[in-house]
Amino acid sequence: MKDTVNIKINGIPYEVEKNLTILEASRICGYDIPILCHWDHDYCAVGSCRVCLVGIKEGNNTRLVSSCSTTIFDGIDIDLLSPLVLRARKTSVELLLSNHSKECQQCPKNGNCELLNVAKIVGADENKFSGKTQDRVIDISNGITRDSSKCVLCGRCVEVCNKQQGIGVLSFKNKAFENVVSPTKDLLKDSGCIFCGQCVLACPTGALMENSSIKLVDEAFEKKKKVIVQVAPAIRAAIAEAFEQKIGVLGAGKMFSALKKLGFYRVFDTNFGADLTITEEAEELVERIKNKKVLPQITSCCPAWINYMERFYADLIPNISSCKSPHQMEGAIIKSYFAQKHNLMPDDIFVVSVMPCTAKKDEIKRKENKTADFVDVDAVLTTREIIFMIKRAGINWSLLPDGEPDNDLIGEYSGAGAIFGVSGGVMEAALRTAYFKLVKKEADILFFKDVRGLQCVREATINIGEKDIKVAVVSGIKNAVPLLQDVRNKKSPYTFIEIMACPGGCINGGGQPYVKECFFLDKNVRNTYIEKRSSILYNVDEKKKIRQSHNNEDIKKLYNDFLIKPCSELSHKLLHTTYSKKDKFSQ
């Protein structure tokens, strides 16, 4: 059978692969079609927004169909150009605008808004229609803010939360004009939301956004606090996208220069905190293995996973590493060790974490994370928020020199810390150190390469000394369920499991720059960006002389001068935390 079909677009013949949708075939032939509700192919493709309408000519008639959900067939005569088609698309957008609170000037989504983008493409008149508008519900939770009046009911978030993440917080409710997308119990915080922010990445409009903390940071500057910033490993893999319109550029150097220009008292790298986490977490693992305590040990640095665990798998609490996440650890060290050495009071310091993550905004409010008398981190900004602040300050990215983070007690980091941002990175980093502790010599770097990869579930068997241990790496919270069931039923073959809520890990976190097909020339961008971002971090690791957390000199110094040893009493007080069973439907 033939693998291609003959089609016509605007009367011009083309031969293309069969089984493509009209949208895909048109793009291959060099025609773009505006889309709004269409998202990743495996998820939504029902064509509910009616923005991608095209005509199929049948004799003298033209049938309108949604190009994202209709498959081409031999002899199809596609019309992308007639007034009928163009008017239909325009009408769909104008109708959406008539039911939308149009506040583009003050909307944080402006610049990345797909509704605004299609409105421009189809030439919509925002005042063409008017009438009743949907009720406005503004739901501000610890991680995410939802403004129902900007929702276009595309259903992307519903699909992502249900099918990709397997959580099911959001659903369609009511029929006809009253139809809305809303959390099952009206508010996100009551509906089991874990704040992973994957829905935020999918939303075409400003209906789902991170809960902004920019104001908090501005106020801290105004109050003349010593505002110290730390940046997560994953940020440098994506921040340049916002300035250079392409994916796969390391943004570390310019990013550190930009942060210094923003006036922070110190600019630190959370990579240091990652090394500290590994030192503690590997010690914990070694101790569990040696003393035959509860295994598998499961990582704890993803707060969305922790939220999920406390709601749905609280019986596994003994398996979860008691380590705080890297930025919390670094915050605690800044407000204790760093503060003492500089004669500062914890209260004078305001720690800002720049994170790829919306769940970290919720994490810093956990009462379990409060160390002694201070909170470790005062505000979390997403990658998108720091991009906003850099642009607001008028800093010209292209003229920035390459800079370094400050090196002041906190500074040095290893390649192991750098790969924390990608799924499998925490595992690999921890294994490097655990191996050293158990076998008393360094393992070859490539020894653990089996834990790398793009699949959402990976396993590897590692020979440590005399025995083999099995480990697993999972990203995308839904993929963890079978493994967690095994742990629950005491059937798990693994010694150590890494879980990240976002597919691909933090490089694809809910606070990262949007990767929307409509804003990139390469329409294949959604299939490749995770790989591109992760290879940036592996490159950082490769270029580092020091590849293991336990060889980080500043970490060694921190233990000598302050913490004494990994998992000491003081480190437990500052760097470890506790978990508790939470009601499925409340915070």
């Binding site: 064509g47 169909v65 009928l84 008017r87 959406l96 276009v152 029929k175 004009f177 139809n179």
Partner: protein, 177 residues
């Protein structure tokens, strides 16, 4: 001449289609709503609405709505527009069209089986592999090989619009309520 009953009937229809569609697609959810607002205003003598806007919107919905509910509703609304602006009365054409619409869609809409709570299956023994359903399915949910393999519905993509059920000439599409 319009009787009071005629006007009542027409208004009830306009409210019915505006309130009972499944609310999934833009053209029907917001489009039919806007059209109903326009027409109610005219019927109530409140406003002088541009006929052209109403006609254009009606025609777009008729062609571009996701499923037959919205398309047919717009068809009837176009007759109502014609009744208001051209004929200046609602004659039997309008009333018959309304009743035809009801007989096809009222039960589905009122019982909420448009858009949800039903499942469609193709009976492989009855399917003549003609591809009629898959060519009409607005969600691209039906696959099969013409003349060779019976057609099947992907339940994850199906939007419960009843189109396949209506277009299959061989009664091969079954509904499970």
């Amino acid at each position: 001449m319009n009787t009071i009953d005629n006007i009542k009937e027409v208004k009830a229809f306009i409210d019915f289609v505006a309130n009972e569609n499944c609310g999934k697609c833009t053209l029907c959810r917001i489009g039919v709503k806007r059209l109903s607002e326009i027409l109610n205003n005219v019927i109530n003598g409140n406003e002088d609405i541009e006929q052209k806007t109403a006609l254009e919107l009606g025609n777009t919905i008729k062609l571009g709505a996701l499923c037959d509910f919205g398309k047919n509703a717009a068809n009837v609304l176009l007759l109502i527009i014609d009744g208001i602006f051209q004929k200046k009365e609602f004659d039997n054409t309008v009333l018959t069209a309304i009743n035809n619409f009801y007989s096809e869609f009222k039960e589905r809409a009122v019982t909420g089986t448009i858009g949800k709570s039903v499942e469609f299956f193709i009976d492989a023994n009855k399917c003549k592999k003609c591809s009629m359903c898959s060519r009409h399915c607005p969600a691209g949910a039906i696959s099969g090989v013409i003349r060779l393999e019976p057609f099947q519905i992907n339940q994850n993509k199906c939007i419960k619009c009843w189109t396949c059920f209506s277009v299959c000439k061989f009664g091969a599409v079954n509904v499970k309520k």
